[in-house]
């Protein structure tokens, strides 16, 4: 979403990169998974990196985020029924005092 010109980086993605991405995606991949994805992802990326070729000579193309030309889809500011708290909490792995109970949170936002 910036104005930098699209360039096709050589799809090199190391095992460490995979580990970093897994951190961003909050998945605790084990060693075997890191190895496997470290092998697979470069291949997949090599084939999808061809998207930039498709744009050669295409001129100015607006990226398409939505397939239909809808605009200004709004809702009136009118209250609708909420869930009953017991239904909201029914699937919670743990709860206490009508709140979702989760393990201690380390990070801050």
């Amino acid at each position: 979403m910036s104005d930098e010109p699209p360039t096709a980086p050589t799809p090199q993605i190391s095992r460490d990169d995979v580990a970093h991405l897994a951190g961003l995606a909050r998945i605790q991949l084990d060693e075997a998974e890191l190895d496997r994805l470290g092998r697979e992802l470069p291949k997949i990326l090599e084939s999808v990196a061809t998207v930039s070729q498709a744009l050669e000579g295409a001129g100015d193309v607006q990226p398409m985020s939505h397939p239909t030309p809808l605009r200004n889809v709004f809702r009136e500011d009118v209250v609708r029924p909420s869930l009953k708290p017991e239904d909201a909490l029914a699937a919670a792995p743990a709860s206490e005092g009508q709140r979702f109970l989760v393990p201690k949170i380390l990070g801050e936002e």
Partner: protein, 500 residues
């Protein structure tokens, strides 16, 4: 007409008539299907959950209302199976994933609400690739679905469960979802009709999201007319879905009853076929084109050069949206909560990461990591940004093609049903299954796949029609015409014979 096998042989349109004229009852029909599921699904595994009591209760209720003289919707009493990606109150919704095992949603998807309102008993929830990611249903965390035509083969995916259920007559109708071909490709591989409506034509509210800008819910049926009937039940504006089109749905049933291609301009897309397509698939496709020509259609060749890059664009846009949509599965509010091995007193962060490792399968993780990469800073413009531009080019190619043709036609899938395990270790080979279906998802245009006879290997082949945005009626008109021509040629409906 209460012979169970007669009942399960009827199309939904025929069932609706038999119910309306009280030749049979919804209770009898629903029980016949449930009995068949009980007898046959052990081998097929089309269903993840069967709701015997709920389906029978709903059927009996419709029968009571009909007896009381209520004015009922067209498909009232006709049972249906629903892909396990749609939220259903009273039935678990798992999306084929361990991470949602046993989850009971507190709300119904809009499509499910509409099915209930139409008086359609819901038989159960059908199997799918985990979070609808796959083309074989082998990525289901609960085991694969088998193809009714050959149990050693896959029914395609992700909606293999819905397609197999309809093909094996375990349900007269089913609901599927199509993000890159998940309704149409299984339709082709199982000899069923599958429709991906115009994006925004059917509400996505309550459909577990895979890729929001591509997902669309649609009918899985045995005939084109049945698909139109079901499409009319589920289609139309939903204020709960901001991407839902607020315009009347064209008269689809009327189009399916018309089935007239005289003077219709049919475009054969040069890029969708030929190299990489199984010869038997190509033969059946060409035969279909010849039949259309014979019936008075004008066949033209059109070129959509950007389609060559559609698969690449899809495998950037889709995983990007996947990586974000699936972030909510974090063990905090619902679903699986797994704890990391050997960590005393783990933190929320560690539990999230352990849960997402334990709860997601390989294909899901692969796409999340790929999408995370495509969106990450420094790569966004080259990958996601470029992919969205290619998407615009695909839409542009469609527009140009639809100036020359009223509908486009192509083979639905490059091959017939492949063997279980055949492509499981080769993600790129699996991805190629959707090469012909993906352009429609990128551009949002509607597509319909229908069975076009059998290939040299004795397995079904699908042919798809594509139409401009919001012109879904054209699919039903052309589809019904080709269906009739094929029926005349092949002699009988092309259904699989499944025995216990």
């Amino acid at each position: 007409m209460d012979n169970p096998s007669d009942l399960t042989d009827l199309s939904a349109a025929e069932l609706a008539t038999a119910l309306a004229t009280r030749e049979t009852s919804s209770g009898a029909v629903t029980r016949a299907y449930l009995d068949r599921i009980d007898a046959l699904d052990g081998g097929l595994h089309a269903f993840l959950h069967v709701d015997h009591d709920g389906a029978v209760d709903a059927a009996d209720e419709i029968d009571r209302r009909r007896a009381a003289g209520d004015d009922l919707p067209k498909l009232a009493g006709v049972p249906i199976a629903v892909k396990d990606l749609l939220c259903t109150v009273g039935q678990p919704t798992t999306a084929g994933s361990r991470i949602l095992e046993g989850w009971l949603p507190p709300y119904d998807a809009t499509v499910v609400t509409r099915l209930r309102r139409a008086g359609m008993p819901i038989l159960g929830k059908t199997n799918l690739d985990e979070f609808a990611m796959g083309s074989s249903t082998e990525h289901s965390a609960y085991g694969p679905t088998r193809n009714p035509w050959d149990p050693d083969r896959t029914p395609g995916g992700s909606g293999g469960g819905s397609a197999a259920a309809v093909a094996a007559r375990l349900a007269p109708l089913a609901i599927g979802t199509d993000t890159g071909g998940s309704i149409r490709q299984p339709g082709a591989l199982t000899g069923t009709v599958g429709v991906k409506p115009t994006y925004g034509g059917v509400s996505r509210y309550g459909v577990v999201a895979m890729a929001s800008s591509l997902d669309q819910v649609g009918p899985v049926t045995r005939t084109v007319l049945d698909a139109a009937l079901l499409h009319e039940v589920i289609g139309g504006h939903d204020p709960m879905d901001s991407t839902s089109i607020d315009a009347p749905v064209p008269d689809l049933v009327q189009a399916a009853r018309r089935g007239d291609v005289q003077g219709l301009r049919v475009g054969v897309v040069k890029e969708l076929g030929g190299e990489g397509f199984q010869s038997g698939v190509q033969e059946r496709f060409e035969e279909s084109v010849a039949l259309l020509t014979g019936a008075g259609a004008t066949v033209v060749e059109v070129s959509c050069p950007s389609f060559e890059h559609a698969l690449a664009a899809y495998y950037l846009v889709m995983p990007s949206e996947v990586s974000s949509n699936l972030a909510r599965f974090d063990a905090m509010r619902y679903g699986l909560r797994a704890f990391p091995d050997g960590v005393e007193d783990p933190s929320a962060e560690q539990v999230m990461a352990a849960t997402r490792d334990a709860g997601f399968g390989d294909e899901v993780k692969r796409r999340i990591i790929l999408g995370t990469y495509a969106l990450s800073s420094g790569y966004y413009d080259a990958y996601y940004g470029s992919a969205q531009k290619v998407r615009a080019l695909v839409a542009r190619d469609f527009e140009a093609a639809f100036r020359e043709a009223d509908v486009l036609v192509s083979p639905t899938a490059p091959t017939t049903a492949f063997r279980l395990g055949e492509k499981l270790e080769d993600p790129m080979a699996m991805y190629l299954q959707d090469v012909a279906t993906i352009p429609a998802n990128l551009a949002g245009v509607p597509g319909l796949s229908l069975p076009a006879g059998l290939a040299e290997d004795g397995l079904p082949v699908g042919v798809q029609f594509l139409a401009p945005l919001q012109c879904d009626d054209r699919l039903y008109n052309a589809g019904a015409a080709l269906e009739r021509l094929l029926l005349e040629k092949w002699g009988s409906p092309l259904t699989a014979e499944v025995t216990a």
